[in-house]
Protein backbone atom coordinates (compact mmCIF):
# COMPACT_ATOMS: atom_id res chain seq x y z
CA UNK A 1 0.00 0.00 0.00
CA UNK A 2 1.45 3.37 -1.00
CA UNK A 3 1.43 6.47 1.19
CA UNK A 4 -1.29 7.98 -1.00
CA UNK A 5 -3.46 4.83 -0.81
CA UNK A 6 -3.02 4.75 2.97
CA UNK A 7 -3.94 8.43 3.20
CA UNK A 8 -7.04 7.76 1.11
CA UNK A 9 -8.06 5.08 3.64
CA UNK A 10 -7.45 7.45 6.55
CA UNK A 11 -9.20 10.63 5.40
CA UNK A 12 -11.35 9.28 2.57
CA UNK A 13 -10.54 9.16 -1.11
CA UNK A 14 -12.69 12.21 -1.80
CA UNK A 15 -10.52 14.28 0.52
CA UNK A 16 -7.19 13.46 -1.08
CA UNK A 17 -6.00 15.64 -3.92
CA UNK A 18 -2.76 14.69 -5.58
CA UNK A 19 -1.16 17.17 -7.92
CA UNK A 20 -1.03 15.64 -11.37
CA UNK A 21 2.65 16.49 -11.54
CA UNK A 22 3.23 14.28 -8.49
CA UNK A 23 0.91 11.53 -9.71
CA UNK A 24 2.78 11.23 -13.01
CA UNK A 25 6.27 11.71 -11.62
CA UNK A 26 8.25 8.49 -11.89
CA UNK A 27 9.66 7.06 -8.70
CA UNK A 28 13.33 7.54 -8.12
CA UNK A 29 15.27 4.48 -9.23
CA UNK A 30 16.17 2.29 -6.29
CA UNK A 31 19.86 1.80 -5.72
CA UNK A 32 20.84 -1.81 -5.82
CA UNK A 33 22.32 -3.18 -2.64
CA UNK A 34 23.31 -6.81 -2.30
CA UNK A 35 20.50 -8.76 -0.69
CA UNK A 36 17.99 -5.94 -1.01
CA UNK A 37 16.10 -7.14 -4.06
CA UNK A 38 13.20 -8.39 -1.95
CA UNK A 39 10.92 -5.76 -0.57
CA UNK A 40 9.40 -7.02 2.69
CA UNK A 41 6.81 -4.24 2.80
CA UNK A 42 4.92 -5.48 -0.24
Amino acid sequence: MSYIEALEKIVGKENVYVDQADRSRPSLPRRHHPGSSQDESR
Partner: protein, 179 residues
Protein backbone atom coordinates in the same frame (compact mmCIF):
# COMPACT_ATOMS: atom_id res chain seq x y z
CA UNK B 1 7.68 27.50 -2.45
CA UNK B 2 6.01 28.49 -5.72
CA UNK B 3 3.27 25.92 -4.99
CA UNK B 4 2.77 27.30 -1.51
CA UNK B 5 2.23 30.77 -2.85
CA UNK B 6 -0.22 29.33 -5.41
CA UNK B 7 -2.30 27.13 -3.04
CA UNK B 8 -1.81 29.11 0.20
CA UNK B 9 -2.44 26.10 2.46
CA UNK B 10 -3.23 26.67 6.13
CA UNK B 11 -1.87 23.30 7.18
CA UNK B 12 0.83 21.03 5.83
CA UNK B 13 0.96 17.34 6.79
CA UNK B 14 4.04 15.33 5.95
CA UNK B 15 4.92 11.67 6.34
CA UNK B 16 8.64 12.47 6.45
CA UNK B 17 10.37 13.20 9.75
CA UNK B 18 13.09 15.28 8.06
CA UNK B 19 10.57 17.33 6.05
CA UNK B 20 8.58 17.91 9.23
CA UNK B 21 11.62 19.33 10.99
CA UNK B 22 12.37 21.51 7.96
CA UNK B 23 8.84 22.92 7.64
CA UNK B 24 8.26 23.23 11.39
CA UNK B 25 11.60 24.68 12.45
CA UNK B 26 13.87 25.71 9.63
CA UNK B 27 11.65 27.36 6.99
CA UNK B 28 9.82 29.64 9.45
CA UNK B 29 13.21 31.04 10.49
CA UNK B 30 14.45 31.57 6.96
CA UNK B 31 11.37 32.46 4.93
CA UNK B 32 7.93 34.08 5.22
CA UNK B 33 6.22 30.68 5.03
CA UNK B 34 3.13 30.77 7.22
CA UNK B 35 1.68 27.28 7.45
CA UNK B 36 0.88 24.95 10.32
CA UNK B 37 3.20 21.97 9.87
CA UNK B 38 2.17 18.62 11.27
CA UNK B 39 3.74 15.23 11.03
CA UNK B 40 1.21 12.59 9.95
CA UNK B 41 1.45 10.89 13.37
CA UNK B 42 0.19 14.09 15.01
CA UNK B 43 -2.60 14.34 12.45
CA UNK B 44 -3.71 10.71 12.80
CA UNK B 45 -3.60 10.92 16.59
CA UNK B 46 -5.80 14.05 16.38
CA UNK B 47 -8.31 12.23 14.16
CA UNK B 48 -8.43 9.32 16.62
CA UNK B 49 -8.80 11.52 19.71
CA UNK B 50 -11.61 13.49 18.02
CA UNK B 51 -13.41 10.25 17.16
CA UNK B 52 -13.03 10.86 13.43
CA UNK B 53 -10.95 7.75 12.84
CA UNK B 54 -12.05 4.42 14.29
CA UNK B 55 -10.64 0.97 13.84
CA UNK B 56 -13.37 -1.64 13.50
CA UNK B 57 -11.50 -4.85 12.79
CA UNK B 58 -8.76 -6.36 14.91
CA UNK B 59 -5.30 -6.30 13.38
CA UNK B 60 -3.52 -8.96 15.40
CA UNK B 61 0.20 -8.54 15.02
CA UNK B 62 3.28 -7.86 17.11
CA UNK B 63 4.73 -4.48 16.23
CA UNK B 64 7.85 -2.70 17.41
CA UNK B 65 8.08 1.05 16.89
CA UNK B 66 11.39 2.61 15.92
CA UNK B 67 11.76 6.29 16.87
CA UNK B 68 13.16 8.27 13.91
CA UNK B 69 15.94 10.69 14.95
CA UNK B 70 14.34 13.71 13.27
CA UNK B 71 10.94 13.06 14.83
CA UNK B 72 12.08 11.92 18.28
CA UNK B 73 15.32 13.44 19.47
CA UNK B 74 15.04 16.50 17.20
CA UNK B 75 11.32 17.29 17.53
CA UNK B 76 10.42 15.52 20.79
CA UNK B 77 7.56 13.50 19.28
CA UNK B 78 7.47 10.15 21.04
CA UNK B 79 3.94 9.44 22.24
CA UNK B 80 1.62 10.14 19.24
CA UNK B 81 2.85 7.14 17.20
CA UNK B 82 2.53 4.89 20.25
CA UNK B 83 -0.98 6.16 21.00
CA UNK B 84 -1.97 5.40 17.39
CA UNK B 85 -0.63 1.85 17.63
CA UNK B 86 -2.37 1.32 20.96
CA UNK B 87 -5.65 2.50 19.42
CA UNK B 88 -5.61 -0.33 16.88
CA UNK B 89 -7.30 -3.39 18.39
CA UNK B 90 -5.18 -6.51 18.34
CA UNK B 91 -1.80 -4.84 18.02
CA UNK B 92 0.78 -5.84 20.61
CA UNK B 93 3.18 -2.93 20.88
CA UNK B 94 6.73 -3.96 21.69
CA UNK B 95 9.53 -1.62 22.69
CA UNK B 96 13.20 -1.71 21.89
CA UNK B 97 15.45 -1.69 24.95
CA UNK B 98 16.73 1.64 23.68
CA UNK B 99 13.64 3.67 22.83
CA UNK B 100 12.44 7.27 22.68
CA UNK B 101 15.38 9.66 23.25
CA UNK B 102 17.76 6.70 23.66
CA UNK B 103 16.71 5.04 20.41
CA UNK B 104 19.52 3.89 18.17
CA UNK B 105 19.70 5.35 14.68
CA UNK B 106 18.42 3.25 11.77
CA UNK B 107 21.74 3.86 10.04
CA UNK B 108 20.26 6.02 7.32
CA UNK B 109 20.05 9.36 9.07
CA UNK B 110 21.92 12.53 8.19
CA UNK B 111 23.03 11.27 4.80
CA UNK B 112 25.14 8.59 6.46
CA UNK B 113 23.98 5.96 3.97
CA UNK B 114 25.48 8.01 1.15
CA UNK B 115 28.69 8.47 3.13
CA UNK B 116 29.20 4.87 4.24
CA UNK B 117 26.60 2.50 2.85
CA UNK B 118 28.20 -0.63 4.31
CA UNK B 119 28.30 0.63 7.89
CA UNK B 120 24.82 2.14 7.48
CA UNK B 121 23.55 -1.30 6.46
CA UNK B 122 25.20 -2.93 9.47
CA UNK B 123 23.55 -0.48 11.87
CA UNK B 124 20.11 -1.14 10.36
CA UNK B 125 20.75 -4.89 10.34
CA UNK B 126 21.52 -4.98 14.08
CA UNK B 127 18.45 -2.89 14.89
CA UNK B 128 16.29 -5.22 12.77
CA UNK B 129 17.87 -8.26 14.41
CA UNK B 130 16.93 -6.81 17.78
CA UNK B 131 13.34 -6.49 16.53
CA UNK B 132 13.34 -10.18 15.59
CA UNK B 133 14.74 -11.10 19.03
CA UNK B 134 11.87 -9.14 20.63
CA UNK B 135 9.42 -11.29 18.68
CA UNK B 136 8.23 -8.49 16.40
CA UNK B 137 6.50 -9.37 13.14
CA UNK B 138 6.50 -5.79 11.91
CA UNK B 139 8.96 -2.96 12.47
CA UNK B 140 7.22 0.34 11.98
CA UNK B 141 8.64 3.82 11.82
CA UNK B 142 7.47 7.23 10.70
CA UNK B 143 10.28 8.20 8.35
CA UNK B 144 10.98 7.10 4.77
CA UNK B 145 14.71 6.93 5.43
CA UNK B 146 14.18 4.50 8.33
CA UNK B 147 11.85 2.44 6.15
CA UNK B 148 14.41 2.21 3.37
CA UNK B 149 17.17 1.20 5.79
CA UNK B 150 15.05 -1.49 7.41
CA UNK B 151 13.84 -2.87 4.09
CA UNK B 152 17.42 -3.63 3.16
CA UNK B 153 18.10 -5.07 6.61
CA UNK B 154 14.97 -7.21 6.43
CA UNK B 155 15.99 -8.62 3.07
CA UNK B 156 19.36 -9.58 4.54
CA UNK B 157 17.72 -11.20 7.59
CA UNK B 158 15.60 -13.32 5.31
CA UNK B 159 18.52 -14.22 3.07
CA UNK B 160 20.53 -15.32 6.11
CA UNK B 161 17.48 -17.19 7.47
CA UNK B 162 17.53 -15.15 10.69
CA UNK B 163 13.81 -14.40 10.49
CA UNK B 164 11.11 -12.54 8.66
CA UNK B 165 10.40 -8.93 9.51
CA UNK B 166 7.85 -6.83 7.66
CA UNK B 167 8.76 -3.18 7.31
CA UNK B 168 6.06 -0.52 7.25
CA UNK B 169 5.67 3.17 7.67
CA UNK B 170 3.11 3.94 10.37
CA UNK B 171 0.85 5.56 7.75
CA UNK B 172 0.84 2.34 5.75
CA UNK B 173 0.12 0.25 8.84
CA UNK B 174 -2.86 2.46 9.71
CA UNK B 175 -4.07 2.13 6.11
CA UNK B 176 -3.77 -1.66 6.31
CA UNK B 177 -5.59 -1.74 9.66
CA UNK B 178 -8.45 0.20 8.05
CA UNK B 179 -8.55 -1.95 4.90
Amino acid sequence: MERFSRFKPKRLVTTCAGCYKTFKELYPKRSDLNVEALHIVEYIEKLISEGKLKFQKPYSVKVVYHDPCDLGRHMNIYEPPRKILQAIPGIELLEFKENRNLAKCCGGGGGFKAYNNELSGEIAYHRALEAIDLGAEIIVSACPSCKSSFQQASARLRKEKKGRLKVLDLTELVGEALA
